[in-house]
């Protein structure tokens, strides 16, 4: 095999390795094997705010279950992203933001306390 053929084979092998490892299905439970977020991705993630669930929960009507979402299959709720996009933290007044943040702290504190109580009772 000539040098250029060897080089080409080596390049193809490297390409195959890169492709196979990027495509490699990752186990969501193994966080260490999941790709890290870039600065831009992290900024987008943080921009959602700490009250995301609260906002979406309050804005999603109960009757919404009647929409075409099929929990067991692939969903086709095209409107969801548009709906979610309208619920970004940007448009919230300071007082609401404060209230939500306080509530969030309270629920997390409740969880920590619960866990501590369980650990103490185990001990």
């Amino acid at each position: 095999m000539s040098e250029s053929s060897k080089r080409e084979c080596q390049e193809r092998a490297l390409e195959a390795l890169i492709v196979s490892q990027v495509w490699q299905e990752r186990d969501p439970e193994k966080v260490s094997d999941l790709p890290e977020l870039s600065t831009e991705e992290r900024a987008a993630m943080d921009s959602l705010g700490t009250d995301l669930v609260q906002r979406l929960w309050n804005n999603l009507p109960d009757e919404d279950n009647e929409l075409s979402c099929d929990w067991d299959g692939v969903s086709e709720c095209v409107s969801d992203e548009a709906f979610a996009g309208m619920n970004r933290a940007d448009g919230m007044d300071e007082e609401t933001r404060k209230k939500i943040e306080e509530r969030r702290k309270a629920v997390l504190e409740r969880l920590r306390k619960k866990k501590l109580d369980e650990e103490q009772s185990d001990a």
Binding site: C9, Q10, R12, A13, L14, E15, A16, L17, I18, V19, S20, Q21, V22, W23, E25, R26, P28, V31, S32, D33, L34, P35, E36, L37, S38, E41, A43, A44, M45, L48, T50, L52, V53, Q54, L56, W57, L60, D62, N65, C69, W71, V74, S75, E76, C77, V78, D80, E81, F83, A84, G85, N87, R104, V107, L108, R110, L111, R112, K114, K115
Partner: protein, 216 residues
């Protein structure tokens, strides 16, 4: 924010969902948001930060619907959460017409052929599982830190690798680059762009300790 805080386990989350489904979702969002974003990214490197934001929010919307249903089962909630985020991501890619390999079997024949009888293939098979994870981490980082044009070319190449091999031309890469960036390039230019990206990746992987693997 992230699961790395290690305060909340899946058992805690399960209990939170049993106590109060909205509280369960708040705990999920507070402690598992980052791992879920990283999982989303592992499904497709073509997603922009805005795409990820939209998919994540639609996942939470879907989960709100789910926990409000009378038949909601809070046992091992991460199975459900991972399923929803995967479906939402795949659905998003389908609607944006972004190609995604559904199964590694689709490309495995080409990968096996290209790795056969190569030093890279031989050395890869000798690596321990932990070293393979370390290689993937280094590769993820190498791709992420490429300059934007090289990064989009690398992502595009990975997506259309099997088409390039099958058709014996870089036209699918040129088409994908145009779809991703709007830039028209010929097949030859696409090939040249990819070679630039590949060289950079090779350098970065060598610096990360995988020189013998990538240089063969």
């Amino acid at each position: 924010m992230a699961q790395q805080d290690a305060v909340v386990t899946e058992d805690d989350l399960e209990q939170a969902f049993k106590d109060d489904p909205q509280f369960g979702l708040e705990v999920l969002d507070s402690y598992f948001r980052e791992p879920l974003w990283r999982y989303m990214k592992s499904i497709s490197r073509s997603l922009t930060p805005d795409d990820m934001e939209d998919i994540y929010q639609s996942t939470i919307v879907e989960l709100i619907r789910a926990v409000r249903r009378p038949n909601f089962d809070p046992i091992r909630p991460m199975r459900l959460v991972n399923k929803v985020i995967q479906e939402r991501t795949v659905d998003f890619l389908r609607r944006k017409r972004i190609r995604r390999c559904q199964n590694l079997d689709d490309i495995v024949a080409f990968v096996a052929e290209d790795l056969r009888n190569s030093n890279t293939g031989f050395r890869w098979n000798l690596l321990l599982a932990d070293d393979k994870v370390a290689f993937r981490k280094a590769l993820d980082q190498a791709i992420d830190t490429l300059p934007p044009k090289q990064k989009s070319t690398a992502v595009a190449f990975v997506e259309v690798y099997d088409q390039i091999r099958e058709q014996g031309t870089y036209k699918p890469l040129a088409d994908r680059i145009k779809q991703m960036t709007g830039e028209s390039v010929t097949a030859m230019q696409a090939k040249s762009n990819w070679h630039d990206s590949r060289s950079k990746l090779e350098e970065k992987l060598a610096r990360a300790g995988f020189r013998s693997l990538v240089e063969g």
